[in-house]
Subunit: 65 residues, 2 copies
Amino acid sequence: MCEANAYLLQDDREELIMEGVDVLEPQGDQIYLRSIFGEQKFLHARLKTTSLLEHKILLETTTSD
Amino acid sequence: MCEANAYLLQDDREELIMEGVDVLEPQGDQIYLRSIFGEQKFLHARLKTTSLLEHKILLETTTSD
């Protein structure tokens, strides 16, 4: 399985938002996530970085700017 | 191996830009890509969508807006 886990960076902490992310899609100032389990989320966030080898997607909130 | 391949959407065609992408990081109006092979690229592009299960990252150019 080659999905990744999504974390949201908040106050210098990384909070696990979704496991098994398949789809990651920016939509305006939000980001849409869908997991292999069918879970879906819209977050007021943007992609900060990924390390796919570590199965990691790091997001940061857009509202704190 | 859980890396993905990055494609750039141009004129409705998907051009393979980099294989084995590990790091995907937006930087201003550019996007930084680094592969498991050590290859690095900066593109005037943004993330359109991913399907990690299909090992696919789809980018779109930012200059055509």
